[in-house]
């Protein structure tokens, strides 16, 4: 085993290889490794964020659904109330109208009766005067007795 120049040659070759590796091999590989690591980390991050967003959205959707259901129930209830109210109002109106119509009819009847009474009275007065004329056979001062007869007629 003789030591010779090979030793120095090997050392030089070794140094050159190490230099080359340090300069041209290690950095790009390491860089791509780190970049990939970062990319994967970012991807995982994004996935978890998306998951969280999805959960949030689902929650929101549920909330909205619940709210709309509530609203619908409220609206339905209001509609019910309103329709009941309308029916009630209509009923009340109808009742009032009926009453009014009855009152009108009554008033008309009363009027009719009064008018009939007036007519009758007038006729009675006329008849009474005619009768009295015939009985007395003399003319009566119509102007003089008119008040008297009318008074009589009102007493009928």
């Amino acid at each position: 085993m003789n030591l010779n120049l090979t030793l120095i040659g090997q050392a030089i070759a070794f140094a050159v290889f190490v230099w080359f590796c340090m300069r041209y091999v290690w950095p790009p590989v390491m860089q791509s490794l780190q970049e990939r690591q970062k990319k994967i980390a970012d991807g995982l991050d994004a996935a978890s964020r998306a998951n969280r967003d999805l959960e949030l959205a689902q929650e929101q959707a549920n909330e909205t659904l619940r709210e709309s259901k509530e609203q619908a129930a409220q609206i339905l209830e209001q509609a019910h109330k309103r329709s009941n109210q309308m029916i009630e109002e209509a009923r009340e109106n109808a009742r009032l109208e009926g009453e009014r119509m009855i009152a009108n009819a009554r008033a008309e009847i009363d009027q009719e009766i009064n008018r009939a009474k007036e007519e009758l009275r007038a006729q009675v007065a006329r008849l009474a005067i005619e009768g009295a004329e015939r009985i007395l056979e003399s003319s009566i001062d119509e102007a003089k007795h008119r008040e008297l007869v009318d008074k009589l007629a009102t007493e009928l």
Binding site: L3, N4, L5, Q10, A11, F17, F20, C21, Y24, L33
Partner: protein, 288 residues
């Protein structure tokens, strides 16, 4: 088998000899024709097979990883990118668990160490005779005597290769220690531990002892790092060579040893990487 019916010893020796190019005292710059000639070249020689294979494998590693790095996307990774990212993350995690400082160098350094050593070790699983015989055929084409063409395929079975790396790591250990603690801090660490006393005079006496102990501790790191890897792979290679000598019996034996060896290959690459990280983090952090 190598050469013209070599003996067992010759066969083994042939397999354990590197293809050496160097300055021979008599023949000048040339390829060594024998182990003795290679030894005579002394320090001014270079192992062509070790250098060739290690550089080729290092380039292969960087080419594959660079290709994946260029095409890297942040989308869903496929095929090669998946594999490269897996390796990078594995190394990155190992570094982060052990090294708590901030350094742009240590992670790529560890990745290079792991992949490069793994690939170099992996050459051990290529059947021991295939590439040397190929080299001999090619050598013969260029007019060389085939028995003189030595070829050792696994760079990590060459102590030069492992020492080259571990000494580089050692330089980094010292660099990091001085950078994080200052030069005086580094010297203090070498001289004021493990024995220390408030008495100044006694402390002065203890400094040489401490220095000796700490220097041995420090130097043991790169040497053990290199020899651990070298020893494991050398032994593994040697056993492959011995199994190859068994004739027909080698057929059922190669497979279990290769399977077992896969474990060693990965484990040694991993140990070299982990120990580098541990040593560097020890150099950076406050000790004792």
């Amino acid at each position: 088998m190598a050469g013209n019916n070599p003996t067992t010893t010759e066969y083994i020796q042939h397999h354990l000899q590197n293809l050496t190019f160097g300055l021979h005292p008599e023949r000048g710059w040339s390829i060594a024709h024998s182990a003795d000639e290679a030894a005579e070249m002394g320090f001014w020689a270079i192992h062509l097979d070790t250098m060739g294979w290690s550089i080729a494998l290092g380039v292969l590693f960087l080419w594959v990883f660079r290709k994946a790095a260029k095409a890297a996307t942040t989308g869903v990774p496929t095929g090669l990118q998946n594999f490269v990212e897996m390796m990078v993350e594995f190394v990155d995690n190992s570094v982060k668990e052990t090294f708590h400082g901030k350094s742009k160098l240590i992670a790529p350094l560890s990745l290079t160490i792991f992949c490069w050593i793994f690939l170099m070790n992996l050459m051990d699983l290529v059947p021991v005779d295939v590439l040397p015989m190929l080299a001999q055929k090619i050598g013969a084409m260029f007019g060389a005597d085939p028995s003189h063409v030595y070829f050792k395929v696994v760079p990590t079975t060459d102590v030069n290769a492992t020492l080259g790396m571990s000494l580089s790591v050692f330089a980094l250990i010292i660099f990091y220690a001085i950078r994080s603690k200052g030069f005086s801090g580094f010297i203090a660490e070498l001289t004021l531990h493990p024995f220390s006393t408030p008495n100044k005079f006694a402390q002065a006496l203890l400094i040489p002892v401490n220095f000796l102990l700490e220097t041995v501790t420090l130097l043991a790191r790169p040497i053990s790092l290199a020899l651990r890897l070298f020893g494991n792979l050398y032994a593994g290679e040697l056993i492959f060579i011995l199994i190859a000598l068994l004739g027909l019996w080698q057929l059922p034996l190669h497979f279990p040893w290769a399977v077992f060896h896969i474990l060693i290959i990965v484990l040694q690459a991993f140990i070299f990487m982990m120990l580098t990280i541990v040593y560097l983090s020890m150099a950076t952090e406050e000790q004792h």
